[in-house]
Structure formats: structure tokens, C-alpha cells
């Protein structure tokens, strides 16, 4: 009897690596459990894919969770049109390579009204091009569950979030009245119009993410690794200077240097760091002795304490 293609694949697994250390293994098991639970209990899940390192880990875990089956939901990318060019290229490559259903959504109103991070300020811009866009996309798809790569260690209000984070029909989060969440028994029962944001990486730290990327050899946008790049210094941030839409202000000039990014978002709002860490080992070594947090490079988090909570209440991830 000849083996079917499926059986052949299972006998010759896609990869073979040394076993994960118990800490990462436990985190991986937990994430896979959450993926499977959401996929089984919800009618129409979607995975938010932001192309960054956390999303890359999230996607890898989704592929593991459903193997040898396909990832049973689409990926949603909210494209603000201000992402780094390399991010978009990477996104399209990955979607093709792993045979994923990719949905890209942009807030048309924002584009028509020409709302940009340069003209409207980070807070308003984020509200329109990210939060509002996300809500539009979730409504359009009729998704009842959305996976996100948020981690509790990122920020104080995220540290309060459940793994299944309940949202009202207008996507609001009520942090004062979250559902109890006991053991690993998740309550996936919701009414029509309500939804859940599910966070399989809740208990991961930034170091865990990097160590897992290393252990599992997960491809990343090259911007995470140091290279000689053009940049402009503005408001204490180093902004990548490759997009023609970046206009220099008086006194500003394009400089060149070894830089990399610790998180990736919209290029005008994401500051680079000076670094010579051009591969994973060096990035991890740098991180383990870092004295500032990863959110430090993000303009939108530097507003008041509590700004993340406010955005999340309104439906931001």
C-alpha cells in the first residue's frame, strides 16, 4: 500500500531541532492550547498580524497548533500605509510561503482625509488609522474572535488583561469588570455581536520571544537586525529615512549609521536604536543587559500613563 502525501509529510517532519528548554516548552504548550480552544469554540476567528516579532512568533505557533492541518483562519493586517517598506514585502512573502489567507484593511476615510502621522499627531492618527481601522475590519469580516500577540509584560494595563479578553459589540474593553478566568478553562460563550480578543502570548516576556525565535529559527523582518541605514533625528527619536513622504524640517539632515529596531510599527512613530547587533545571538545578548524597556522607542506609548488603557477601552489591541 502506498503512502498518501499526508502520511509522507508526517513521517518526514518539516524540521528537526534540539528540544526546547522546559520554560519555552511550557509557554509554547500554553499558546497552542489557546489557539486550539479558540478555533474550536468560535465560529469565525481571525488572527491579527502586525508583521513584527510577536506576530511572527504567533504565526509560527498557529502553524504548530494546527499541523498537519492548515491554519484554519485568515490573517488580518491593518495597513496604515505608513509601515516600513520591508515590513510589507516580508508580509507578502510569508503569506505566500506558508499558504495563508491574508486580509489587508486600510481605513479609507483616513486616506481620503489625508490623516498622516506628520499632519495630525500620533494620538489622533493612531486612533483613526489603527483603532478605527481595526474595528472596521473586524466588523466587515464578522469575526467573533481575534488573536493578538500582546504580552502582559509590555505595559501596565496589558498586565491586567485576560487571555480571553471580552469585548462588547462596539469593541469596548471594561477592565473593571472582566470575566473570571480560572485554570486553563476559558469561557468562550458570547452573545451575537460580542467578541473576544485572544492572547496566546500573554505570559511571554520579550526575552522569551527572542529566545524562542532563536530556538525555532523563525524568520523576521530584517529591520530587527542592525545594519547601516539612513535616519533623521527628530523629537529624540531616530526615524528611518527611506520613504519619500518623510520631509525634512529646517536643521534636520539625513545621517547614516548602524541602527536597528526593537519594535516595529509605523515608521514615523517608531524610533531606532544604535546597535551593532546584526544577528540573533547579538540581539539577545544586547537585550539581556538592556536597562530600558522595549516600548521606550514608541511614540504612542510615551503619552500619559494610562494612555494604553484608554486606547484599549476604545477597541485598540
Amino acid at each position: 500500500m502506498s503512502l498518501s502525501a499526508q502520511e509522507t509529510e508526517i513521517r518526514n517532519p518539516p524540521v528537526s531541532r534540539p528540544p526546547l528548554d522546559p520554560h519555552l516548552k511550557a509557554l509554547e504548550n500554553e499558546a497552542i492550547h489557546i489557539f486550539r480552544e479558540v478555533a474550536a469554540e468560535f465560529e469565525n476567528p481571525v488572527m491579527l498580524y502586525s508583521i513584527g516579532k510577536d506576530s511572527s512568533v504567533l504565526l509560527h505557533l498557529a502553524r504548530k497548533a494546527f499541523f498537519p492541518g492548515r491554519v484554519p483562519f485568515p490573517l488580518l493586517h491593518v495597513d496604515t500605509t505608513w509601515k516600513f517598506k520591508e515590513m510589507i514585502e516580508f508580509r507578502d512573502q510569508i503569506a505566500e510561503k506558508y499558504d495563508l489567507d491574508l486580509v489587508v484593511h486600510t481605513n479609507k476615510r483616513g486616506v481620503e482625509e489625508n490623516i498622516t502621522p506628520f499632519t495630525h499627531g500620533s494620538a489622533f492618527y493612531t486612533d483613526v488609522m489603527k483603532t478605527e481601522a481595526l474595528k472596521q475590519a473586524l466588523d466587515a469580516g464578522g469575526y467573533d474572535a481575534a488573536f493578538g500577540g500582546a504580552r502582559r509584560d509590555e505595559e501596565a494595563s496589558r498586565a491586567k488583561e485576560r487571555i480571553y479578553s471580552f469585548r462588547t459589540p462596539d469593541h469596548k474593553w471594561d477592565p473593571r469588570n472582566q470575566r473570571p478566568e480560572l485554570w486553563n478553562i476559558y469561557n468562550g460563550m458570547i452573545k451575537k455581536g460580542e467578541s473576544v480578543r485572544a492572547f496566546p502570548l500573554s505570559n511571554w516576556t520579550e526575552v522569551d520571544i527572542w529566545r524562542y525565535i532563536q530556538a525555532e529559527d523563525i524568520p523576521l523582518v530584517p529591520l530587527y537586525y542592525a545594519a547601516e541605514r539612513p535616519y533623521v533625528e527628530r523629537d529624540g527619536m531616530m526615524i528611518l529615512a527611506e520613504d519619500p513622504r518623510l520631509e525634512l524640517k529646517p536643521g534636520e539632515e539625513i545621517q547614516h549609521g548602524m541602527i536597528r529596531f526593537r519594535t516595529l510599527g509605523c515608521f514615523p512613530l517608531t524610533g531606532a536604536i544604535r546597535s551593532t547587533a546584526s544577528n540573533l545571538e547579538e540581539v539577545i545578548a544586547e537585550l539581556e543587559i538592556a536597562t530600558v524597556s522595549e516600548r521606550q522607542g514608541r511614540a504612542i506609548d510615551r503619552d500619559q500613563s494610562g494612555s494604553m488603557e484608554k486606547k484599549k477601552r476604545e477597541g485598540y489591541f
Partner: protein, 505 residues
């Protein structure tokens, strides 16, 4: 150029664009699983301050976070110290009221191990959030304000923690700085709690006098202020604690999904929640009782030759059997309890309470089914006694109940297996989670031995385990599995059993 950028950023020195290096960077070695712990106790006893201080002293607070903390703290105490609780109390409402409302999860590590802390609220109104934190914890740090000692809320939290299977406690007698580091007061509170712990069945108690605010006996030693104390600091006690042991006993795989990527492959996906499994092992699918053998254990990385508790796997069986989400695949001996009636303890979590006779949804593992609850008793926190109680279990009450199912349910006792012995109740009207529960026993026929029909003849056999396994894997046996009783014994126990049965056999 149009309007200028209005990004709301505060200018930072250009040097902030380089990741600064800490002087003594401890490389984290993570050879062990993280220890999961909670803080609990009454309002304002200093739980959040303690964890904030712990994060601070283990250098888990980064420079930018420290700057934010200094900015937010203002002049909150006369010691000139930051308000460490703000590292945990991240919600606006919490900061405004100066209390914790919901659990905050934080991560830190020492050279020895890593920790996941859940800082829980002391307010009685938010007990459900404390229960959320307690359900996954290996250890509880119970705080008591040295000025007031143990309160009813302290006892409630200790009781809930013990009920949920936490066996290791640290009693932190906090704010000792406010009573002049009085040894006698510390010893009185510690003795009182030891006695209370004994009643709860908790023996492992480390009592530590501390000042969370000043960081005495947290990470740094408090010897200077308390030369009379010779025990460990908090961090030393935590480093020595043990992570919850993986569940021993029989194999358990609650089936989350059935995966069928092609005609020839059918796999059952789930997380092993007890025991271990390898290809060739015989298993039963509950509640139906169908028997099969394991053909393969599939994961993304490799076809494995074994899986143990905690592993998220895909199991392939050697024959076509009916398996659906919610079923549990178990080892053929050492099976869990299957039935329609169980005893359990539960904590009522919502304002509506738990109503007798009401049909709730019960979720355990990947199984969701209808259940009716009949309370039988309630714990009186002031005396520690169970009192008969058949009416509504109001919010925060701890009760004993009967569970009655319409379809067969499958459980282990929570003491034996946390994963297959725990459940939540969901209100069918609000769909909110209204209780957390722990199964204690199957009702009526405890032990599950068949009485048989009137006059029915039965045969008791003693066989080598491998032969028994082959017989049990046969179609005929499988089809009548629910009529048989199986116990695994040592050869000596079996011999004794037969000799006790005497000459009848």
C-alpha cells in the same frame, strides 16, 4: 511643508537611543519551569507594594519605567520612596482609588529561577479576581498588616488558596516598621496562622516579618532592623519553593479538536493533562468507553515516541472510532470517574450567586455540558466549620454542592488531577463565569464497582498486565467495556486478594 508634526513625545537625550548596559547583568538561566505565585490578603496590607518592591530589587524595573514611576508617585510617603504599588496597579481606576481591582501578572527572575506573579486584589468585592490568580498558583504569599493581624478577609483568601490546591504558603507579616519591629507581635500572628493553616491542611508555612515599603526581608536582608529574625528573606523562600508537580496517575487527553487534513489522516488534538503515553498503548475514549491503541503522536517538529503531562499533541489511533471535541482519551486502567452525579466544592463569583436547581453550563477541559446544582453546605469563615446550607450560595461564598448532569460527565478528583477535576460554571443568561469548582467524588456508587443485575454471574480474573491489555484492546471487550471493572494491582496484592476470597474460587 504643511503643518508641523505634533507627535506627543517628550524629548529624550540622544543617548536614550542606545540600549544602555546594566553593570552587573545576570544572565538568566531557565532550567526549571517558572514558579507561579500569588499575593493575597486583606485590603491595603501591602500586596502590590511588596511585588513592586520585589520587581524593583530584582532589577526587573527598567530605567524608563522607573522614571515613569517617579513621575507618577509624587510625594506619597514620608520615606521619600516611590509608590511601588503603581508598578502593579496599572488601571486608571486603581490609581485613582489607591486599590487593586484586578489581577496583574508580572514576570521576573533571579539567577536561580523565573517567576510568574499574580498580584491579586484584597477587596472582598473583587474576590473573583483573587480566585482567578489562585487557580494557577503553586504558592501563595499571604500578607497580614502587623498592626491588625489576621482578618476575616485574610482567612477567606487563605481558605480559597488552600481549596484550590495551593500547599505552600509564605505568611508575610508586613508593615513591621510601623510597630517598631516588635518580635512578639510577629510571633503571635505567625502562631495564629500556623494553627489556622493546620485546619486547612496546609503544613508548609514560612512566616517572615517584613517591610515591603522599605524592602526589609524582601530581597535584601532585614537583619539590621530585626536582628532577632534568622529565617529566609522572601526571595530566598521563593527560590526554594517547588513548582506544581506534573500530574501523575493515568493518561488524560481532553480532546479539543479533531483534525482531518486529508482522507487518510485523523488526529485528536489536545493538551495531555495527566500521565504519559506512547505509541502502542491502549486507550479508552470517554464517556463512550470505546477502546483503541495509539498509532502515532504527531507534533510539528517530529513524530514523537512519547508525550507527557503538559504537552500539546495530536494523537492518532489505530482504528476508526467515534471521537469528538469534549471527549477524553484515557489510559485503559486508572480511568477517571464517569457518571451523572458528583460531589464538588465551589466558590461563587458573581453578584447573582449560585441558585439551587438552576441549569448552568459547566465547562471542564474541552467539554461543556448542562448541569444542575444543589448546595449542601457552606463554609463559615469565622469558625472554619461547614454548615448545612441548601439555598442560594451568594457571591464569595464557598460551598459544597451536588452536580447532576443530563449526559455522562468525566472527572478525576481535583486532589488527584487539577486539570480534570476543575470546572467553571457559566450562567446561561449572562454567559458570564459565575463559579469555579473542584470535584471531590462521584456520588452514589463511589468506587464505581458494578453491582450487576439480580442473579448475574461474574468472574474475577488475575492476568499479567500485558495480556490483559491485549484482551481489553479487542473488539469484543471494547464493545462491552462498560460492563467490566478493572483494577491494577501488584502480583502480591492480587495473590492476597484471591487468598482472602477463600475457597469459593
Amino acid at each position: 511643508m504643511s503643518a508641523t508634526a505634533t507627535a506627543t513625545t517628550t524629548p529624550v537625550a540622544a543617548s536614550a537611543n542606545v540600549i544602555p548596559f546594566a553593570e552587573s547583568a545576570a544572565r538568566v538561566s531557565r532550567d526549571t519551569r517558572p514558579l507561579r505565585l500569588i499575593t493575597c490578603g486583606s485590603v491595603d496590607d501591602g500586596k502590590s507594594t511588596l511585588i513592586g518592591r520585589l520587581l524593583w530589587d530584582t532589577k526587573a524595573v527598567k530605567e524608563d519605567q522607573a522614571a515613569t514611576l517617579a513621575r507618577d508617585s509624587g510625594a506619597q510617603n514620608d520615606l521619600g520612596l516611590p509608590d511601588f504599588a503603581l508598578l502593579l496597579d496599572g488601571l486608571q481606576a486603581e490609581r485613582e482609588q489607591g486599590i487593586t481591582i484586578d489581577v496583574a501578572y508580572r514576570y521576573f527572575s533571579t539567577d536561580r529561577r523565573s517567576f510568574i506573579v499574580a498580584d491579586t486584589p484584597g477587596h472582598e468585592q473583587y474576590t473573583r479576581n483573587m480566585v482567578t490568580g489562585a487557580s494557577t498558583a503553586d504558592l501563595a504569599i499571604l500578607l497580614a498588616d502587623a498592626r491588625v493581624g489576621l482578618l476575616e478577609q485574610t482567612r477567606r483568601h487563605a481558605t480559597i488558596a488552600a481549596l484550590m490546591g495551593i500547599r505552600q504558603f509564605v505568611l508575610a507579616v508586613n508593615k513591621i516598621d510601623l510597630i517598631g519591629y516588635d518580635k512578639a507581635v510577629f510571633e503571635k500572628i505567625a502562631a495564629e496562622f500556623r494553627e489556622f493553616g493546620l485546619a486547612l491542611g496546609v503544613r508548609q508555612i514560612t512566616a517572615i516579618p517584613m517591610s515591603a515599603l522599605k524592602g526589609e526581608n524582601v530581597v535584601l536582608s532585614g537583619t539590621e532592623a530585626m536582628p532577632w529574625y534568622e529565617g529566609p528573606t522572601l526571595i530566598e523562600a521563593l527560590e526554594l519553593a517547588t513548582s506544581r508537580s506534573t500530574q501523575a496517575g493515568g493518561f488524560r487527553l481532553p480532546v479539543q479538536r479533531v483534525v482531518r487534513p486529508g482522507e487518510s489522516f485523523r488526529g485528536y488534538q489536545g493538551t495531555v493533562s495527566g500521565g504519559a503515553i506512547k505509541p502502542g498503548d491502549s486507550v479508552a475514549v470517554l464517556p463512550s468507553g470505546t477502546v483503541a491503541n495509539v498509532k502515532q503522536i504527531v507534533t510539528f517538529d517530529l513524530v514523537r515516541n512519547a508525550a507527557v503531562a503538559g504537552d500539546a499533541i495530536t494523537l492518532v489511533l489505530d482504528r476508526q472510532v467515534d471521537v469528538a471535541r469534549g471527549d477524553i482519551i484515557v489510559s485503559i486502567d486508572g480511568q477517571p470517574m464517569t457518571g451523572t452525579s458528583f460531589d464538588a466544592q465551589l466558590v461563587s463569583l458573581q453578584p447573582g450567586g449560585i441558585e439551587p436547581g438552576k441549569r448552568y453550563w459547566l465547562k471542564s477541559g474541552a467539554r461543556r455540558q448542562r448541569v444542575t446544582i444543589e448546595p449542601t453546605s457552606q463554609l463559615d469563615l469565622s469558625t472554619g466549620q461547614w454548615k448545612p446550607h441548601a439555598s442560594l450560595l451568594s457571591m464569595n461564598a464557598i460551598g459544597k454542592v451536588h452536580l447532576s448532569f443530563e449526559e455522562p460527565a468525566v472527572f478525576d478528583a481535583y486532589e488527584q488531577n487539577r486539570a480534570t477535576g476543575a470546572f467553571i460554571l457559566i450562567d446561561p443568561d449572562t454567559l458570564n463565569t459565575v463559579a469555579g469548582g473542584m470535584v471531590t467524588a462521584k456520588r452514589a456508587d463511589i468506587g464505581g464497582i458494578h453491582r450487576g443485575k439480580e442473579g448475574e454471574q461474574r468472574v474475577v480474573l488475575s492476568l499479567p498486565a500485558d495480556l490483559a491489555e491485549q484482551l481489553m484492546a479487542s473488539e469484543l471487550f471494547a464493545s462491552r467495556r462498560d460492563e467490566a471493572d478493572i483494577r491494577r494491582l501488584t502480583a502480591a496484592e492480587a495473590a492476597e486478594f484471591f487468598s482472602n476470597a477463600g475457597s469459593d474460587i
